[in-house]
Amino acid sequence: MASKETCRTELRYAVRHLSDRGLYSASKWAAEQLMGIEQDPSKHTPSHTRFQRGSSSIRRRFRTADSSASGTPSAGVSYVTTPSMIGVEDYDYDPIDNDFYLLGKSYFDCREYRRAAHVLRDQTGKKAVFLRCYALYLAGEKRKEEEMIELEGPLGKSDAVNKELGSLERELSTLRKNGTIDPFALYVYGLVLKEKGSENLARAILTESVNSYPWNWSAWSELQALCTTIESLNSLNLNNHYMKDFFLANAYHELRMHNESLSKYEYLQGTFTFSNYIQAQIAKAQYNLREFEQVEVIFEELLRNDPYRIEDMDMYSNVLYAKECFSALSYLAHRVFLTDKYRPESCCIVGNYYSLKGQHEKSVMYFRRALKLNKNYLTAWTLMGHEYVEMKNTSAAVDAYRRAVDINPCDYRAWYGLGQAYEMMGMPFYALHYFKKSVFLQPNDSRLWIAMAQCYETEQLHMLEEAIKCYKRAANCNDREAIALNQLAKLHLELGRSEEAALYYKRDLERMEAEEREGPNMVEALMFLARHCQTKKRFDEAEVYCTRLLDYTGPEKETAKSLLRGIRYERDVEHFPS
């Protein structure tokens, strides 16, 4: 990986390039990463090293550092980053051209995209061409969004399309053929192609763009969205660069390779120690690995550093929901609502809060609002499905889950929810289809296996062999609720295989001992094992179990006593046959 200093320089340039071209979210991302790099303690006073925000003096000092720093990037193609090239781009244009550009950019900043494009219509500079194309694209997108509402047909939304795509594609492809295209215009070209559905070409173009200018995170994200399988990811021909690591980490996450993604992020943290983005991503991965404690810690820290952050906070609220932290959740909801109430994440957090409070109607209302803000907001569809399940409105739940699944067919929670809903309606066999889908997507989640096993176990189906298979899978993948072992024992007992049953009771017992849990399962296991050992004439063992049973109050104690008596008697008989 490049040295911290190089990263810093490069990113600093990148922020300027990106914001100069109106690529705001990419520039925001770059700036965030820039701030995430640990400062060199030798150059800066310790008080400034940790969080440098708001300190203009440091910024000024950085700038002076820029001009002296001539460090070229060690990895990737040295394109725009070399300061000399920047100079070429910045100063070679005519002043008139530049004036046009300035006006166009101002219009662009005021979101008057068509005006901006119009002003830049005859400009030939690369920057101007890019801004014009990008403005046109955005204008088309804006119109598309409006038309989506206006053209709502009797049978749902009609598909409004961005009408600029055709002309943009034509222009950009000629530019590319002429070789007069810069990586930013390539990014727009990629966007256009992706929207038009020619994914392979879009992938190639975006790869070209990120290879020549790696700091445009928006291009990476578009590329990531095009890599839906590991094969397509591996087939990309990318130059080595630390941005590639960011990209891969994100892509692994989306492909549900959480451990790989986690290790990538941890590696990146070596350089970008204080990056909020990386922290949030780690939290996401941990969340999917169901390490809620860690996620909570990370988010607490994130909020301390960045109290007005809304991104990813819906996941934090999920964690708080799972841990039933009422007050923390309400605090979070309050805070995000004051920050920006019309963000889907905010609505989702409030929905979660009401759900935790058991007010499902209100919760549904907020999820609906989240969906109104973003129709493809996956989490909200799934969570709304959960709410409907709680409200026993199964058909509405099915509908919501199905929409989630159609948005992202890899959402195992929604598949699981569908299965659950159908099971509630007394259709276990039908539900199996959905459970199968969900375990296929998330084969290491014991809860899914247990749900499927319970489905097989239902009175109507009563397919115990299949249930046993599922419970075995559940037991093999870290079954937190410790249902599987107990159920396995019970099922084997029901099928008359006492040896297997004893084996699983014993394993269950060991587990409970290891986790120091008590409860009815413990008694049940001990009771069975005591009886089993007695019938198998393993009296010593039986005695051990019986004595342990004596610790419990209630009928078990009496049973244990009588068992002990029986054991002694049998032993006597054995020793002194009459």
Binding site: L151, G153, P154, V398, R402, M425
Partner: protein
């Protein structure tokens, strides 16, 4: 079920096409005083425009509204002398709509042509549109939609009208533009010009038609009545009626997918909801009818487009499910089925009957189970199917959905009767089983019978006529192959008669078809009306006003009349299909009972009358029956000729009955000619066609191993043949296929006869006889009697009298209904009996022997059954020898030699046979 972002449903949107219709309506009913308003010269012309407008509002031929080009093309078909004026008017009016205010004025004018609410006030002469007529309603809906439209909507409408006109102009032939631009142009000349162009067009089409009629989709013009191409053959007749439709489907699919619809809105307006639904249900019928020959990808792309444009129209998923189902795409079908029911909760499509209030929020997922069960059944997963259907029974009971319950029960009985029963015991035993209440002492078949009776009662009480009819058919099928026993036998068992009951079967079949006769126009008004309009629009080429087409007019008129008769019948397609299958069952029953002419007749009725409305696979079945009949009664030559025709017709259906029939035919032929290797190969191929799952495709499996045993027998490998027959018997016994067992037993008797073990053979023959008796298999019984007689005779000449008596007893059946082989066997047997009988002398009555032998040899030559033919000639030669007719003897002997060499060297002759493969 709006869990999504809820919105007020706007069911009717204004589109440029609708504006065009409104303009035409204005032309049709201008506020003037004459009975035939200005541009029209006759009342019929006026009416024709009216029907045209009506059809435009109802047509359901695709998902998209036509472009202006298409509309103008159609308009010029009906307009006759007026078409120039009409086109001009239409385009001018459309292009004059340039600002929102123009639209406002247009709709204000439109309101003027609507009559007042009470129609009595107006003058007689004045033309007013009745607001409650179809066209009036349409106009009112347009007005309402316009009034509700926000300003954005009007802007969109304007841009859309712009592109609508522009597209038309840009793709219109240049002469059209000049016509439009130059109003001084002589209208007659232009008319003639256009007609000439039309004629060229027609000519091209015809030549196309001749060149590559099967591949090109020219469905828009029904040209099959043209010229000398009159189909005299019966089979061709069926083909002609189904082909244009197929072609048409291709064209619609193509035209909707190939149209240059880039990003803009040109022509991508959906028809109204009602029309799209009509289109979808028509397509669903077509899929079910055509099976795997339905164009998969073209339709899939149409559906995908439709789904994109109307994401809330969940029926699309159902169509996609159907499409994948009939193309054997299991994952696709499963996925789409689940998706459809997840979205619609079973409350859309199908025969939706709203449930009684109170449980309406729950959805109707039981129908999902029913469909899933049927799907598993279709794919040959009987176990899953039964699981799912059992669940469906439970769920419909739980939500008291009686209709679904009735359908499910019938589906289960279908499943029962189609697949082997032996493996079902586990599920039958379980407590949730619907029949379990009857007690588990019942055999599986009796359970099926109870199930059928119960579903019949249920269906009758809910007045599900179609279901009742199909249950009757199902019961008929059951009665056909099952001996009636009292279900719960209490008291004396004196009345127990172990026979099937043919009158019952026919009573059930009659009941089934009778119920269909009661069918009026139930529940299918929508589709038939839409289909009618579609048909009308498709037949626009029949001009009433134009004189240029006189030459061809008659032919075309005929074809039109034919189509008109076929199209808008008030009986829905599904009912016709049921009625058709009742004829198939009839044919099957007569085939079993052994009446060849009746079986043939019923199959013929089916092929002639119902081939149009039935599914392709059923039609193929009827054809294969007819072909088999030909083979058995007329010899192979004719059968192969017929097969060729059928193969052409059903080329597209994969794994069809025709293929099976072909293999059967070839196998039979190879056996008769003594080409045993080929025969073995053919029967292996037949066996491969069956699914490897046990309990599925039993019919085919029995057939294959029966043929295998016969091949082995022909190769004189008696012990192996017997082993195969034994295992077949065990399988039939296991799956309770008693009727097939009669055949197997007869085969065993035959094997023993051939191996010279007559004593062992007799019990088998007798057993077969008793089976035949109890199942009323008269023809099979006759042939069993024949075998029995042969067995007796082979025991020695002292049994000749007995054998002869047996033979003569079944002579009427054998000669009246038997095929060529059976008849000649009977004749030879008779001759042999006489020859063996010591009390019979040839000299006294030579014709007693000669006549049957001559008959036999003649028929066997037809059949090319060399082995038996050589035997006949041998006997003939002997008899002639005894009679001293040396010339005749020599002739017979040479024929004998000929056949015996052909039999022993099959390869030389049989190249032709293997070529047909």
């Amino acid at each position: 079920m709006a869990t999504g972002i809820s919105k007020s449903p706007v069911s009717f949107t204004l589109t440029p096409h609708k504006i065009s219709i409104c303009i035409l309506v204005q032309v049709y009913a201008p506020p003037s005083q004459n009975s035939t308003p200005f541009p029209f010269s006759s009342v019929s012309q006026h009416n024709r425009l009216g029907i045209f407008i009506l059809s435009l509002t109802k047509v359901s031929e695709g998902i998209f509204e036509p472009t202006l080009d298409e509309l103008i093309a159609q308009l010029s078909e009906i307009g006759g002398l007026l078409n120039h004026w009409l086109n001009d008017h239409l385009t001018r009016r459309l292009s004059s709509l340039a600002s929102p205010d123009d639209l406002f004025n247009f709709f204000t004018d439109l309101r003027g042509i609507l009559g007042g609410s009470d129609a009595n006030v107006m003058d007689d002469d004045q033309i007013m549109l009745d607001p409650n007529s179809n066209i009036g309603m349409f106009t009112r809906r347009c007005l309402l939609a316009f009034n509700q439209m926000p300003f954005e909507g009007i802007c969109h409408l304007l841009t859309n009208i712009g592109t609508y006109c522009k597209d038309a102009l840009s793709s219109y032939p240049p002469c059209g533009i000049s016509n439009l631009d130059d109003p001084t142009d002589d209208p007659d000349a232009s008319l003639e010009f256009e007609n000439m162009e039309m004629e060229n067009f027609v000519y091209e089409k015809v030549s196309d038609d001749d060149d590559e009629e099967s591949s090109m989709g020219i469905g828009r013009i029904p040209f099959h009545g043209h010229g000398s191409k009159a189909f005299s053959e019966l089979i061709e007749d069926g083909a002609s009626s189904s082909r244009p439709r197929l072609e048409h489907m291709d064209t619609t699919a193509l035209s909707s997918s190939d149209m240059p619809r880039g990003i803009g809105f040109n022509g991508t307006f959906l028809h109204t909801n009602w029309q799209v639904q009509g289109y979808l249900s028509e397509q669903a019928n077509a899929i079910e009818k055509l099976g795997s020959s339905f164009p998969l990808n073209a339709f899939e792309s149409t559906l995908r487009k439709l789904q994109k444009l109307a994401p809330d129209l969940h029926r699309v998923h159902f169509l996609r499910y159907l499409n994948s189902l009939y193309h054997d795409d299991y994952p696709g079908a499963l996925e789409n089925l689940h998706r459809y029911f997840d979205y619609s909760a079973g409350t859309e499509g199908l025969e939706y009957v709203p449930p009684p209030s109170g449980c309406s929020t729950l959805g109707r997922y039981e129908s999902a189970l029913l469909c899933l069960g049927m799907m598993h059944f279709h794919f040959g997963h009987p176990k899953q199917a039964l699981e799912v259907l059992t669940e469906a029974v439970r769920v419909s009971q739980q939500y008291s959905d009686d209709t679904c319950l009735a359908y499910t029960l019938v589906a289960i009985s279908n499943l029962y009767s189609e697949i082997g029963i032996s493996k079902m015991s586990r599920i039958i035993g379980s407590s949730s089983w619907p029949v379990a209440g009857m007690g588990t002492s019942l055999s599986a078949q009796q359970q099926l019978f109870v199930l059928l009776q119960r579903s019949l009662k249920r269906a009758e009480s809910y007045k599900l006529k179609r279901l009742v009819a199909s249950i009757h058919l199902e019961i008929a099928k059951y009665d056909l192959t099952h001996v009636q026993r009292p279900l719960l036998s209490f008291g004396p068992k004196a009345s127990l008669k172990l026979r099937t009951c043919p009158p019952n079967v026919h009573k059930e079949i009659w009941l089934s078809s009778h119920l269909i006769n009661e069918f009026g126009d139930e529940s299918s008004v929508m589709t038939t009306e839409g289909a009618f309009c579609t048909a009308w629009l498709k037949n626009l080429k029949n001009p009433t006003g134009s004189l240029i087409f006189t030459e061809e007019n008659e032919n075309r008129l005929n074809s039109n009349v034919f189509q008109f008769c076929a199209q808008p019948s008030s009986v829905p397609g599904s009912v016709l299909q049921l009625l058709g299958s009742s004829y198939l069952v009839r044919a099957a029953s007569w085939e079993m009972y052994g009446s060849a002419p009746l079986a043939r007749m019923n199959a013929l009725v089916y092929a002639t009358c119902f081939a149009d409305s039935s599914s392709l696979s059923d039609a193929a079945l009827a054809y294969s029956k007819l072909i088999q009949h030909l083979a058995v009664y007329k010899g192979y030559k004719e059968a192969f000729a017929a097969l060729k025709i059928a193969e052409e017709k059903f080329l597209c259906v994969s794994k069809s009955r025709i293929l099976i029939a072909k293999l059967q035919l070839l196998h039979e032929c190879a056996l008769h000619r003594g080409h045993l290797k080929l025969a073995q190969q053919l029967c292996d191929e037949l066996g491969v066609l069956a699914s490897p799952v046990t309990g599925v495709d039993l019919e085919l499996k029995t057939e294959a191993s029966l043929r295998h045993a016969r091949t082995l027998l022909a190769a004189n490998q008696y012990s192996q043949a017997a082993a195969v027959a034994h295992s077949l018997f065990c399988m039939c016994y296991k799956f309770n296929m008693q009727v097939q067992n009669a055949t197997v037993l007869l085969l065993l008797a035959e094997i023993h006869k051939r191996s010279g073990n007559a004593v062992l053979g007799i019990p088998y023959a007798l057993a077969s006889l008793s089976f035949c008796q109890s199942f009323n298999l008269d023809l099979l019984k006759a042939s069993a009697t024949l075998t029995l007689a042969e067995l007796w005779l082979s025991l020695g000449s002292n049994h000749a009298k007995k054998a002869l008596a047996l033979l003569h007893g079944s002579f009427p059946m054998l000669l009246g209904h038997g095929g060529l082989e059976l008849r000649s066997r009977a004749f030879i047997m008779e001759a042999k009996c006489y020859l063996a009988d010591p009390s019979f002398s040839v000299q006294d009555d030579p014709d007693m022997i000669l006549e049957p032998l001559r008959q036999a040899s003649e028929e066997l030559q037809h059949l090319e059954y060399h082995e038996l033919a050589s035997e006949a000639f041998y006997l003939l030669a002997i008899v002639y020898d005894k009679l001293g007719q040396l010339d005749d003897r020599e002739e017979a002997a040479s024929s004998f030699k000929q056949h015996i060499t052909a039999f022993e060297n099959p390869q030389e002759v049989d190249n032709s046979l293997s070529n047909t493969l």
